[in-house]
């Protein structure tokens, strides 16, 4: 999307860094499902690690840890705010 604002997809965030969710580029079902888990715009999300061979991402959102498939994570756009 608008890359000059520092907006990127979650999979571009480096391990150990955090970002603020800006939007979810996906269908209603997906967005809703993520929202039920607390992943909505404005939420801070930390990428703990990514699995090998472009596998899923382990993330932390408000104290809980989740695993998100790579394809799904690529649809979550964040504003990176660096290491925390």
């Amino acid at each position: 999307m608008n890359s000059d604002r520092g907006e990127m997809s979650l999979i571009e965030v480096e391990d150990g860094q955090t970002g603020i969710i800006v939007s979810v580029v996906g269908g209603k079902n997906l967005t809703k499902r993520l929202a039920d888990l607390g992943l909505v715009s404005g939420t801070e999300i930390k990428v703990i690690r990514k699995a090998l061979f472009s596998g899923p991402l382990q993330v932390e959102v408000s104290g809980s840890r989740l695993v998100l498939g790579r394809g799904l994570a690529s649809k979550i756009m964040v504003l990176s705010n660096g290491r925390k």
């Binding site: 809703k32 499902r33 607390g38 596998g55 899923p56 104290g63 840890r65 695993v67 998100l68 799904l72």
Partner: protein
């Protein structure tokens, strides 16, 4: 107030990993009944508890994250709470993940169900620096809150005392989650329109669901009061204009804000600076290198110990059972009827011989790994590879189980989210070489051709499964569901829960497998005693002899092998009159026979699970396909091996 022996219905609701199973097992112990929800491949767990002159029926709803209709589990849970109107809904909350869990709690409150909250795993939360002020919490939500540590049984009596105390007192005075002004405005307007209509659902809840554009509810209202749908469409559009995204997200957003507010007022966080042991273990077991290394060691260790122990027990049982056999023959004789009778008994013994040495230890280790939190790490590590086969990381677990026995492997596919995933995974699991197939591989190829060849067969099986996975994705179609899975913290496995789970799984295996195994055992023996086997083997000989290059009797063996695959090896010895297969079979024949045995059909016990879970048409289709596949593959392998030997 409470009469003697009053009946109370409670349901346990909560997210995955919140400790629902621990609570359920603690309350109901061995008074459980596990089945499927009508027409669904989703497990239904019910149980009974007798407590202080009350009979409490407990239903464990599937672990879900929301009350929408995203998945069958969510739909089932929602319908059950609304239609069956349980006396109490016990919401089990993972205190270490309050935020996520409370979003779900708000949805239960919206539904207006009589709620009791069990704030579970408070011990772990404390370790993480999370302390909940239970009094304030209770006040905020307006429902009773009990802190529990279900794995150790803490708080369980207080929970049940609360249920009994409130039983018959009427609905508790719970909080109605209130959202932002403009949303409340919309809810109020829709509620007004709905006021005089009669639905099973609470009016406010319908209003919220309409604003969320819930498909089921929208359909229902559209049928009866289309004018309301018109208005709600305008209102959602209005909300979407203000907020700039879908109305269902607007409301989800509101819930998250409300939860954050509740947590701010009731929970004290003490940040922990040091990396906890848990986190160190987490990074080791999910690490790009050590993660895979540890997984290989842990799974390898698991298989090795199950096989070594299992073979030992199985051999011992063999001795015991064969002494029973000679006793039976001397006591009952060797008439037609007595031989048939023995084959029925033998089928039961065969089941025991699979269940006791292999399935039992396998399940115990598996549930230990699961309770500890390791299984989620495997899913994390394997997700990518599984994706290539059209399923996601959780499917890997069914494969791991399948190596022990295909039956629990197929049953475990229930953890997959969609029907499509469940079926693909189950079919692939039937191709995984189970412990019975391993007996053939090692007893023939390992012993007489070489261990490397035996391991080669496993690699070959994996390749076949991988290709089959890719193909089935094409055949079944659809997109794989993306993995969304909470990563639980590691915790000390709880033995009682593990044993109860193991017992349930074992019971289910026997219930599903026993009838069909016994019947087919007797039928095949009857055909044998009628003297039709030579005829059958000569009918099959174009396939077995001409195409596969095997001795004609293998036709009979492969028929018996449907009962239990290791029978192929056992009966081979009986028919050939020697257990030294090296003398009577060539290396090429042994390899071909092993390949055919691996894939040619699921054993009857596995077929019965497929039948039970996916219907007889699909079960038969899988059998026919696999028979054709194995025969074609076996012939090709046999010809290719010509170049080697």
């Amino acid at each position: 107030m409470a009469e003697n022996n009053q009946k109370i219905n409670i349901v346990l609701a909560g997210q995955g990993n919140a400790g629902k199973s621990a609570v359920f097992n603690y309350l109901t112990g061995l008074h459980q009944h596990i089945g499927n929800w009508a027409g669904k491949t989703i497990e239904k767990r019910e149980g009974t508890l007798f407590y202080k002159d009350h009979t409490v029926d407990v239903l464990d709803l599937p672990g879900i994250y929301s009350l929408t209709t995203y998945s069958e589990e969510e739909q089932i849970s929602r319908e059950y709470i609304i239609n069956q109107q349980p006396d109490f809904v016990i919401n089990i909350i993972d205190s270490t993940n309050l935020e996520r869990n409370l979003i779900f709690t708000l949805q239960l409150l919206e539904l207006g169900s009589p709620l009791i909250l069990a704030l579970n795993m408070v011990d772990l939360a404390k370790k993480k620096g999370v302390e909940v002020n239970v009094g304030k919490f209770q006040e905020k939500l307006g429902v009773p809150v009990i802190s529990t540590v279900a794995s150790r049984g803490l708080g369980m009596t207080r929970l049940m005392d609360k249920v009994i105390e409130l039983n018959g007192v009427g609905k508790n005075n719970h909080m109605v989650p209130e959202y932002g002004k403009e949303i409340e405005g919309c809810i109020a307007e829709l509620s007004g329109l709905l006021r005089n209509s009669e639905y099973r659902y609470p009016v406010r809840w319908i209003a919220i669901k309409l604003l969320e554009k819930d498909q089921e509810i929208t359909k229902l209202i559209e049928k009866n009061q289309p004018e309301i749908i018109e208005r709600s469409a305008q209102l959602t559009e209005y909300l979407e204009d203000i907020h700039g995204h879908d109305s269902s997200i607007v409301i989800a957003d509101e819930r998250i804000h409300l939860v954050a507010h509740i947590i701010r007022e009731t929970v004290k966080f003490t940040p922990r600076a040091i990396l906890s042991f848990n986190e160190k273990l987490d990074s080791l077991t999910t690490h790009k290198f050590t993660g895979y290394l540890l997984m290989t060691v842990i799974l390898g260790g698991m298989f090795l110990s199950v096989f070594v122990l299992g073979n030992w027990i199985s051999d011992w049982l063999d001795g015991v059972f064969s002494s029973w056999h000679s006793w039976w023959e001397s006591a009952v004789g060797t008439t037609f009827a007595s031989l048939l009778g023995w084959s029925a008994i033998e089928s039961v013994l065969a089941l025991i011989q699979i269940a006791l040495p292999y399935i039992l230890p396998f399940y115990i280790i598996l549930y230990i790994l699961e309770d500890w939190g390791y299984i989620s790490r495997i899913s994390f590590l394997m997700d990518n590879l599984m994706h290539k086969m059209g399923i996601h990381g959780k499917g890997c677990i069914s494969f791991v189980i399948g190596f022990g026995c295909n039956v629990p492997g197929c049953l475990s596919c229930r953890i997959m989210e969609s029907k499509r995933e469940r079926f693909i995974t189950a079919v692939l699991v039937t191709l995984v070489p189970c412990s019975a197939v391993s007996v053939i591989i090692f007893g023939l190829v390992g012993k007489y051709v070489g261990l490397l060849w035996a391991f080669g067969l496993y690699v070959f099986a994996m390749v076949v499964i991988f290709i089959a996975g890719r193909l089935s994705t094409k055949v079944v179609g659809g997109e794989p569901v993306e993995l969304i899975m909470p990563m639980p913290d590691y915790k000390t496995p709880h033995m009682r829960t593990i044993l109860v789970q193991t017992w349930d799984a074992l019971k289910e295996f026997i219930y599903i497998a026993a009838p069909i195994v016994i019947v087919s055992g007797v039928v095949i023996q009857a055909i044998n005693l009628a003297g039709w086997m030579p005829a059958i083997s000569s009918v099959l000989s174009p396939i077995t002899v001409n195409w596969l290059g095997l001795p004609a009797i293998t036709g009979i063996l492969l028929i018996f092998g449907i009962l239990r695959k290791e029978l192929i090896l056992v009966m081979l010895a009986a028919f050939l009159g020697t257990a030294n297969f090296g003398e009577v079979l060539t290396a090429q024949q042994m390899l071909t026979l092993s390949v055919v045995s691996m894939f040619y059909i699921p054993c009857v016990a596995t077929i019965s699970v497929l039948w039970n879970e996916y219907g007889w048409k699909r079960a038969m289709a899988v059998c026919v396909l696999e028979i054709l596949f194995a025969i074609i593959l076996g012939g090709i392998v046999s010809r290719l091996l010509n170049f080697v030997f």
